[in-house]
């Protein structure tokens, strides 16, 4: 009887371990979530997810940067200021990791908003970008008027945190956010924590894969539609 019980326990442990191992080896196929307010379109019944509002900022090359710059791309957004002695350098090091990993991938862009609109002039942003070794069309450092910067900060961060009364200082909290090609917030991370950014990098890969899957689906659909006609 004792041997039977022992053997039963052994088999249970073995089967349990096999299930856990099998599950952990399965690719995580669940899509990334959509953060923020959801509504249902009364006509189509589609779910409408929160979209980042229209924006117009000036970048380190004195060029106007609007939503159109990111059409068909995904991007990583963050908030900083050039004279920040504490959080920003840490976050920028993590943003550099993202920039370097996807440097050759033109599907991903980076957008850093300065929250010190009085001091961070275009030339300061330019110097900053050059100093980082990231003065590239793929990474825009932008400034604008105080109200539009605060409004967009609120739009990104309080939405991502799902808290309209997001805690004070959210503009200086080190959050980095992943925005999809339809301006939806799909992931965010504390950019001061490398281990969180490790996960964020995987989420970027996942979103890029999702984009590719959508393109493949569209291609297949157009082929099928063409064949029908």
């Amino acid at each position: 009887m004792y041997i039977t019980c022992k053997r039963l326990l052994w088999y249970t442990w073995l089967v349990g371990s096999a299930i856990v191992t099998f599950n952990s080896c399965q690719p995580d196929t669940a899509p990334l979530p959509y953060y923020g307010f959801h509504a249902i379109d009364a006509v189509t019944g589609d779910t409408l997810y929160h979209r980042i509002r229209d924006f117009e900022f000036i970048d380190q090359d004195s060029q106007l940067v609007t939503n159109a710059y990111f059409d068909g791309k995904i991007y990583v957004a963050d908030f900083f200021f050039t004279s920040c002695p504490t959080i920003c350098p840490v976050v920028k090091a993590q943003m550099m990791r993202i920039y370097e990993k996807y440097e050759a991938d033109d599907r991903l862009l980076l957008l850093s908003h300065s929250i010190d609109v009085r001091r961070d002039t275009v030339s300061k942003l330019k110097q900053y970008a050059i100093g980082l070794g990231a003065d590239s069309p793929r990474w825009r450092f932008v400034t604008g008027n105080r109200d539009s910067i605060y409004a967009i900060t609120y739009d990104y961060i309080s939405t991502a945190l799902d808290n309209p009364d997001a805690p004070g200082g959210f503009d200086h909290s080190g959050w980095i956010l992943l925005i999809d090609e339809n301006r939806h917030i799909r992931a965010y991370a504390d950019g001061t924590k490398p281990e969180k950014v490790d996960i964020f990098l995987k989420q970027i890969d996942k979103l890029l894969q999702e984009m590719e899957n959508k393109k493949t689906d569209l291609r297949e659909k157009s082929v099928t539609d063409g064949a029908r006609r």
Partner: protein
């Protein structure tokens, strides 16, 4: 100068040069690090108030706009409160810019001894405390004015 004297001066200069890297004892380095961290803690506590300052100044701007044609002193008082908020916020940004240009490593290199490093940190600690006071006071005044206006 004899070869022996030259060698002596050379070795002495080398020794002094090497000693320069070890300008501070480990206790002094620890004390500097701790004072620096304490100073930065003062900054971290009030930095989150920047959003509150912004929201309060926006609210005051709107109220001041409404009160422009009224025969009372709300408009100038609101303008004064907004100016104090902006000045306090600016003070924080200026202080951070100054600290960014003078990180602890560079202060250690520039200052001649431990006392001078500590004096620098003490001065900046007083500065950030003063910035923090200005931020908190301007915020309180601004909020009080909003409550007064709203009859609360």
């Amino acid at each position: 100068m004899s070869v022996r004297s030259f060698l002596f001066i050379f070795v002495l200069a080398l020794f002094m040069g090497c000693r320069g890297d070890a300008k501070f004892s480990s206790e002094e380095l620890e004390a500097q690090q701790s004072a620096w961290a304490n100073m930065m803690k003062g900054h971290d506590v009030v930095m989150p108030l920047r959003n509150d300052l912004y929201q309060t100044s926006k609210e005051l701007e709107e109220l001041a706009q409404d009160a422009m044609v009224e025969a009372n002193d709300f408009h100038p008082r609101a303008q004064e409160a907004i100016a104090a908020i902006i000045a306090a916020d600016d003070g924080m940004m200026e202080w951070m810019g100054h600290i960014k240009e003078n990180p602890l490593d560079s202060v250690r290199q520039k200052q001649i001894d431990h006392a001078a490093v500590m004096a620098f940190i003490d001065k900046e600690t007083v500065a950030i405390e003063s910035v923090a006071d200005a931020m908190q006071q301007s915020l309180e005044k601004g909020k009080a004015l909003i409550m007064e206006r709203n009859g609360q």
